[in-house]
């Protein structure tokens, strides 16, 4: 009996370990691959501090006069859930340390960069900006 339980526990620990490892790798690989792609598109060495500054920088929308930043929807604390400024929908935390699903899918990251940069900054982000923000977010 005791041996059985132990074995089960062992395999559970093993499985949990593997899945954590997989998630971390997925994240790391999606982020690493994107960073490499941004590099090829002309970005220099990424800088998380620049990323953080850009994330928090307030931009006034030309058409509406609204103040906008990435924080508007994702909140100041990346470990907390955010709220969509236009629709009120809850947004799960951005920090990969509390939300393991974050930054695991290249296509999804690119899609949201495109959408959110356009809405927040009124233009798409440069590869350098995306690399900086990604470096900032990945460490949260």
């Amino acid at each position: 009996m005791a041996i059985k339980v132990n074995r089960r526990m062992m395999s559970a620990i093993f499985l949990v370990g593997i899945s954590c490892g997989l998630i971390v790798t997925a994240q790391a690989s999606a982020v690493q691959e994107l960073l490499a792609e941004y590099g090829k598109e002309g970005a220099g060495k990424y800088n998380a501090v620049n990323g953080e500054n850009l994330w928090k920088r307030v931009q006034v929308d030309a058409k509406t006069g609204q103040k906008r930043s990435c924080v508007t929807c994702h909140t100041n604390d990346l470990r907390k859930p955010g709220k969509h400024a236009r629709t009120g929908k809850l947004i799960k935390p951005m920090a990969p340390s509390v939300n393991a699903d974050r930054l695991t899918d290249k296509k999804k990251i690119e899609k949201w960069f495109h959408r959110n940069c356009k809405w927040t900054l009124g233009r798409i982000c440069t590869p350098q900006e995306k690399a900086d923000i990604l470096a900032y977010l990945a460490n949260q």
């Binding site: 929908k89 495109h114 959408r115 356009k118």
Partner: protein, 380 residues
């Protein structure tokens, strides 16, 4: 020994009378869409009581039986004329005019019940008559249901006037007699007490209580995070890609809420989606389109889709559900300041008030205005 009091109304008749009053009042007060589930419960009890009254009119005690109080028409007319002059004779049971009033009230009640069941079945798709006729008929049944309820209300008004006059005339409280069952002895009439029939009354109450508990079992037994939904709509199509892509910024509106041409336009204009650039690739767009057009409002699977669809002129292609005239009309009573309240957040946020918005049903009875955290007032 001759008692000065006489039992005239047996218990089942009294339970019927006050039960009918209560269920009528309850159904009237709960006529708003959001209370439909309770309105229908009141309606079923009302219907059941009327059917019981028909049976009791044949099998009940003396004064409860139709044969004791349905008199020929001329007699009722004669009585009314005397009553108008303040000289109507006293009757222990129903007077000749009252007898006809009972019949009229019971018939109106039965017609209200039947048109109610038809409205529930044809307009909402629920109850024993669910979907027996095309939705085109719904408006007719709904209107007759309302007209009959008003007709009954005016009959009740006449009934109250008559009861008041007769009570004054003979210096006895008829409403009290309907409560206690007793009236003053009348030497010219039958002088026996009627049987109380307590067992029948108990059974009547038991059936109604049991049915009410069964009807409300969901409120009592429901557990879990999702709110209890008293009405389930038809099984609607689901699509994981749609929920993922169109549910990222707001509720993934079910395709049944807009016609095919609207979804086509929304997906075609994806780079300017209410000033958002959705940036979806062509493959994703075509898969979303394929799903949207099969579930579109033109299929009219739900009441909401049918009504939304009918309210859009053929030449128009709305890109908002909230700009269709059916939607606007249904929400016109909601004050502007409510829309901007933080726990509602805007017209597009159906989930704030419709508990079954995610399922795409928008059933009556699944909507409620969320409480205002500050002063706990309910605006509607």
């Amino acid at each position: 020994m001759v008692s000065s009091k006489l039992r005239v109304w047996d218990l089942p008749t009294r339970v019927f009378h006050w039960g009918l009053v209560s269920s009528y009042v309850a159904a009237w007060l709960l006529r708003g869409d959001q209370y439909l589930h309770l309105h229908v419960l009141a309606g079923y009890l009302f219907f059941f009581l009327l059917l019981f009254r028909l049976y009791w009119g044949l099998a009940g005690s003396f004064h409860a039986r139709f044969s004791s109080f349905i008199r020929p028409m001329p007699e009722a007319w004669e009585y009314l004329k005397k009553a108008a002059g303040g000289k109507a004779p006293r009757h222990l049971g129903h007077n000749p005019a009252g007898g006809w009033a009972v019949l009229l009230l019971v018939s109106l009640g039965l017609m209200i019940s039947i048109t109610g069941l038809l409205t529930l079945g044809v307009e909402e798709g629920h109850g024993p008559l669910a979907g027996i006729l095309e939705r085109e008929w719904a408006a007719l049944f709904h209107a007759s249901h309302q007209a009959l309820a008003w007709a009954m209300l005016s009959m009740v008004g006449l009934h109250l006037v008559a009861v008041f006059r007769e009570s004054m005339l003979h210096r006895e409280s008829l409403p009290l007699a309907m409560l206690t069952g007793y009236k003053r002895t009348d030497t010219r009439a039958r002088t026996e007490n009627v049987q109380p029939h307590a067992a029948v009354a108990l059974a009547l109450l038991g059936v109604m209580l049991g049915f009410s508990l069964w009807w409300g079992r969901g409120y009592l037994l429901h557990s879990g995070n999702e709110p209890y939904l008293p009405f389930s709509g038809p099984m609607l199509s689901r699509n994981a890609l749609w929920e993922e892509e169109c549910g990222a910024c707001h509720l993934a509106y079910h395709p049944s809420l807009l016609p095919r041409r609207s979804w086509n336009r929304l997906l075609t204009q994806q780079e300017n989606h209410f000033s958002e650039d959705l940036y979806l690739d062509a493959g994703t767009i075509s898969r979303l389109r394929a799903y949207a057009v099969t579930g579109e409002a033109g299929n009219t699977v739900t009441e909401a889709s049918w009504k939304i669809h009918n309210s859009i002129p053929a030449a128009k292609t709305p890109v908002r559900i909230t700009e269709t005239s059916y939607w606007k009309n249904k929400h016109k009573d909601i004050p502007e300041k409510l829309w901007t309240r933080s726990n509602i957040g805007g017209r597009h946020n159906c989930t704030a008030c419709h508990l079954d918005a995610r399922q795409g049903w928008f059933e009556d009875g699944a909507m409620r205005i969320p409480f205002n955290g500050k002063n706990m007032t309910r605006i509607m």
